[in-house]
Amino acid sequence: MADERQLSELTADALGALEEQFPGVAQPAERIGLVIEPHQLVDVATFLRDELDFAYLSCVTALDYPEATDNFPARYEAAYNLYRSEGGPLVLHVHADRDDPVIPSLIEIWPSAGVQEREAWDLMGIRFDGHPDLRRILLWEGFEGHPLRKDWHEPYYEEDQKPFRSRFPDGEPVLDEEDTTFGRNLRYPHDWVEDGVLEIPEGWESEAESAVYKPLELVAAAVKEELGTEQVVLNIGPQHPSTHGVLRMVACLDGETVLGLEPVLGYLHRSHEKIGERNLWLGNMPFTDRLDYITSMYNNFGYAVAVEKLMDVDVPERAEYIRVIMGELTRLMNHLVSVGFLCNDLGIYFTAMLYALEEREFVIDLFEMASGSRMMCNYFRFGGVAHDLPDAFMPMARELVFERFPRRIDELETYLLDNEVFQGRTKRIGVLPPEAAVAYGCTGPLLRGSGVPYDVRRAEPYSVYDEFDWDVVVGNNGDVFDRVLVRFGEMRESLRILRQALDRLPEGPIQGGRVRPNTRVPEGEAYGRVEHPKGELGFYLVSDGGTNPFRYHIRTASFVNLGVLGELCRGNKIADVVAILGSIDITLGEVDR
């Protein structure tokens, strides 16, 4: 039994309620949360959602324990982070057998589990029983192995921990290419290679493409019987100017109406999590920059908040204010760019985007001034920020925040929102009801556009957000237009926070601890989340007390928000699909990780 003191009040309450309803099903987990027996998981989940109001399933992930821990044997494990409108999280752990890991799927209770369970199956190989469409999501069908398992090694595998001994302290690095069969990042099954030459077995065919169309075949078959019309399957992407990167969508069309649409992901899957488990704790900071590459500062923020939960380090007030200033500048920039890209998709080709990019350059100037880099800032450290603000920062920031940005946002808003064509293309398109938004785990402007006033900065305040006077912006109708309205509103709220933060920025130190490259993080488990401009960005971290994470999972808003795309597009015209996608506002670096 784990120490009772480790259980938070929320977890203890939930345990009490569960013990009454389902005796013997739940027990305290090793670090935080509860362990649920798999055979009653669905009942427990239904109870938690309906009776205890845990309406929002934020993060589903999988862990691999190759060796027995203090209280439990070697296992695969699924972890669920649940929230109510305030407080949280309640973490559920479900253990699975190492030889045949099967866990019941929770997609019926929280549809947001859909994409995340597919990801866990893809990368960790846990089968979710009852999931209607358990295909690989980031890798392709037919890929050998499940990469996040601890015993799975990539072709360029060198060691479990960085820095690799070949580079430090020995300092004799070898090119990765020199150690691999083909001099490339490739490895094939043994019967495929003969004398260093690839021998493809006869009759081999790639399943990667055919698997993509499977769910649409069902859609087409279901409709065919009713209408007797012919359906067309249309591929959009991965190279398409309106997919915001390398997203691919396959749509099943009846004329111009979308019957079913399925996002195909993984074209930018860079295995952040596998690399992250090898990196030093601080070494992951620059990698978070590259998650959502438009808003690198806020990714830093999320990672710093999550690790500080484990480290228990005090951040000085000046550093917190600088963090908030950087974070809100990022939000402003992201919303500008996202509105610009949306206009691009709607056919206002490049004009609105150039307006947005012009302002973005000024924000980037500020970032460069503070961090030394335009895009990949790598500015946050555990317990503070990397550098203090330079002298030129404040005058320029004040000029922009007090003078220029309010004017330019008003200008852009007047041009766009009063425009009849813009309204015609966005109003009553892609309507997302609030219940569906919560069920699908949507966050950010997508959720608030549907009228749900949920913002992590309010629900679980981090940093110094509770010291400022600001409002959560919500929409009414949940259509594309309302999401744009919410973004404009949030830009104004960001400016409001920025004005207060710039006025009240205190003097003092900017670092609460000592920045060391090989920081050791105390043993523990934490789920740290922040209100990223696109929605909730969460880092699920497990530390074994060493210099690198035992598990490093990133829950990104773009990825989970995409789960609702098919639902939003069904019944709309194909031309509106790009408008809906643009209004969700995704970045592929964050979707595929």
Partner: protein
């Protein structure tokens, strides 16, 4: 003035105001290099800096590259801006094969050059030159827009040195595309099935390298 141009006959004085003698190659290259049509092909982080280089502050249009085309058939410059994943590799090769000749590739950023910070990842190709021939490499993570400009100038210089008789597009015989890889247990690259190439793998060059030749002369 190129070496070829200096061998041209001198014009009589009365014609010098109205007639200009030049070499066909030079006219061809001069017009070509000022009208590169890049493909609208953003892969990852570098794509944002690529778009930023089209914005009002930097304005790549000053160098004759105003319009980015979404269709590879209308483009002759591929700026590989970001990490090339194995999953993207078949599409990338297919896009390259579809581009209009004579075509050029700029590998923008560390990922496109070698895999960059993500080199060790299981889903990343260690450099786009493992798939298609690359003309200019731009280091940086991501490169600043000025870096991309420098790459474009380097490409202009390179185009200046090309001659019609060397360009693959004007040669006899059919131009073979690069075999498109497939997605199997790992990325199945059909070039590796050839014993000659597999032993010392180099991507095939579709247009001859003329830079080295010129320097020798």
């Amino acid at each position: 003035m190129s070496s070829q141009e200096s061998q041209l006959p001198k014009l009589p004085p009365e014609l010098q105001d109205t007639v200009h003698l030049s070499v066909l190659d030079q006219v061809y290259n001069w017009s070509r290099k000022r009208s590169l049509w890049p493909m609208f092909f953003g892969l990852a982080c570098c794509a944002i800096e690529m778009i930023a280089s089209f914005d009002p502050r930097f304005d790549l249009a000053r160098f004759g590259m105003e319009i980015m085309r979404a269709s590879p058939r209308q483009a002759d410059l591929m700026i590989v801006s970001g990490t090339v994943t194995k999953r993207m590799a078949p599409q990338l090769v297919r896009l390259y094969n579809q581009m209009a000749e004579p075509k050029y590739v700029i590998a923008m950023g560390a990922c496109a050059i070698s895999g960059g910070p993500f080199k060790e990842a299981y889903n990343v190709v260690s450099g786009v030159d493992k798939l298609v021939p690359v003309d200019v490499y731009v280091p940086g993570c991501p490169p600043r827009p000025e870096g991309l400009f420098n790459a474009v100038f380097a490409l202009h210089k390179r185009m200046d040195q090309e001659r019609i008789k060397d360009l693959r597009w004007y040669q006899k015989g059919e131009c073979q595309g690069i075999p498109v890889p497939a997605l199997g247990p790992d990325l199945v690259d059909y070039l590796l099935t050839d014993e000659d190439i597999a032993t010392d793998y180099r991507p095939p060059r579709l247009h001859k390298t003329v830079v080295a030749e010129q320097e020798e002369a």
